[in-house]
C-alpha cells in the first residue's frame, strides 16, 4: 500500500484524519477501478505483450546467445509483474526490497545493458500501443525504476 496511506492508519488512536488526508485516500480509492483494469489487462495479455517484444528482440540481436536473451526477457517479465502489483497498490517502493537488489546483481554480473536498453524501448512502445496514455502514465514510474537499474545503474542509485 502507498506508504502515505499506510501511515495514516497509524494515527487512528490520536485523531481523525484531516481533510487533505481523506482527499488522498479518496483519490486512491477512485483510481482503483482504473488500476484494476490495467492490472487485469497485463495479467491476461502477459504472453501476448511479451512475445512480440521477444520476437523483435531476437530479430535485432540474432548474434546473441539465446540464453542471454532469455535471461533479459525473464527479468522483463518479472519487472512487468512487479510493476503491475506496485501500480495496483500505488506503491512506488514496492519493488525495493523485493526485486531491485536482484536486478542490481544481475546487471552487474551479466552486463546486458545494450540488450536491456532496446528491450525496454520495445516494451514501452508495445505498452503505448496497447494502453491509453493515462494508463501508461500509471505504470510508467514503476517500470522506469526497474529499467533504470538495468539500463543505467547510476540513474537507479539516484532514484534509490
Amino acid at each position: 500500500m502507498h506508504p502515505q496511506i499506510e501511515s495514516m492508519f497509524d494515527e487512528a488512536e490520536k485523531r481523525y484524519l484531516k481533510p487533505e488526508e481523506l482527499g488522498c485516500l479518496n483519490q486512491y480509492v477512485d483510481s482503483i477501478p482504473a488500476r484494476l483494469e490495467i492490472y487485469r489487462y497485463l495479467r491476461d495479455h502477459e504472453v501476448e505483450v511479451m512475445q512480440q517484444v521477444a520476437d523483435n528482440l531476437e530479430a535485432q540481436f540474432s548474434e546473441e546467445p539465446q540464453a542471454t536473451l532469455e535471461r533479459c526477457l525473464k527479468n522483463a517479465l518479472l519487472i512487468l509483474r512487479y510493476s503491475a502489483m506496485g501500480m495496483l497498490l500505488n506503491d512506488e517502493t514496492f519493488l525495493h526490497g523485493r526485486l531491485i537488489t536482484w536486478l542490481e546483481g544481475t546487471a552487474k554480473a551479466y552486463q546486458t545493458e545494450a540488450i536491456d536498453q532496446v528491450l525496454y524501448q520495445m516494451l514501452n512502445q508495445r505498452l503505448s500501443q496497447l494502453l491509453s496514455p493515462n494508463q501508461v502514465e500509471m505504470i510508467k514510474p514503476h517500470l522506469q525504476l526497474a529499467e533504470g537499474v538495468l539500463v543505467n545503474q547510476r540513474q537507479a542509485h539516484a532514484i534509490a
Binding site: 504472453v47 509483474r81 554480473a109
Partner: protein, 218 residues
C-alpha cells in the same frame, strides 16, 4: 525461437528467494519469526552477543576465538544444509549446478537478510588457491568494539565450513581485518589450513591484509 510461454514454467519466474520483504515472516499471535518456508528464525539481542563475548573473555580469555570458531563451524554446517535445501527447492536447481553469479547473489542476500551484514567475494587470488570474503556492518564485530584482535571468529567458522562443503575440500578461514579494530570491513581468507598457518601470527603482528596476501601468494 524464444517462446514466452515456455519461459513461464509453472507460471513462475524465480527471482530473489532471500529478498528481505519476502523471507522473514512474523506471527504476532504466536510470537514467532519464520522464514518463507515456515522454518523458525530467532532474533538475537545485541546484549546477548555482548554477554557471550564478555562471558567467554572472562572464562577462557585467549581461547575465546577458538571456541567461537568451532561454534561457527557447527552453525555453518547446519546453515549450509538449510541453504542448499531452500535454494534447490526454490530455484529447482542444485547449488552445485548454479552459476557462480547466482550462487553468490543468493549467499550475499541470505547474509544480509539474516542481519549479518554485506558480504562480498573477491576472487583476485583464486588462481593461487585463496578466496577473500569481506563483510561490512557485521553485528558481531559491532558488539566487540575497540577490540585488540579480530572478533569475528564465529563468522570465520561459518565461512570455513560453508565453503568446505561447497567445494568438497577442507578449507580453513582466517580473519585479517576487523571493523572492531577500526577497519573498513571484515576480511576473511579462505584456503587450505596448511597454507593459511602463518596468517594468524602475521595478523597479530599487525600486518596489513594486502601485505599478507602478497606474502601468501609469493
Amino acid at each position: 525461437m524464444i517462446s514466452i510461454a515456455d519461459l513461464l514454467v509453472d507460471e513462475r519466474i524465480p527471482s530473489d528467494y532471500f529478498a528481505n520483504e519476502f523471507y522473514v515472516k512474523g506471527d504476532i499471535e504466536l510470537g514467532l519469526l519464520e522464514n518463507r518456508q515456515g522454518n523458525r528464525l530467532i532474533a538475537i539481542p545485541e546484549t546477548l552477543i555482548q554477554g557471550i563475548y564478555a562471558g567467554l573473555e572472562q572464562e577462557i580469555g585467549q581461547n575465546t576465538n577458538l571456541v567461537l570458531f568451532n561454534c561457527g563451524r557447527w552453525w555453518g554446517k547446519n546453515l549450509y544444509t538449510r541453504f542448499c535445501d531452500e535454494v534447490t527447492d526454490y530455484y529447482q536447481v542444485a547449488v552445485a549446478d548454479m552459476t557462480m553469479v547466482e550462487f553468490m547473489h543468493c549467499l550475499r542476500q541470505c547474509w544480509a537478510t539474516h542481519g549479518w551484514g554485506q558480504l562480498d567475494l573477491d576472487q583476485t587470488y583464486q588462481q593461487q588457491g585463496f578466496l577473500v570474503i569481506s563483510v561490512t556492518n557485521s553485528p558481531f564485530a559491532k558488539q566487540a568494539a575497540n577490540s585488540t584482535r579480530p572478533a569475528c571468529a564465529l563468522e570465520a567458522g561459518v565461512l570455513s565450513v560453508f565453503f568446505s562443503q561447497l567445494t568438497s575440500r577442507e578449507l580453513h578461514c582466517v580473519q585479517t581485518t576487523c571493523e572492531s579494530m577500526g577497519a573498513d570491513c571484515n576480511r576473511f581468507i579462505l584456503g587450505l589450513q596448511k597454507r593459511l598457518s602463518p596468517v594468524e601470527a602475521l595478523v597479530s603482528e599487525g600486518m596489513e591484509h594486502k601485505a599478507i596476501m602478497e606474502q601468501l601468494c609469493a
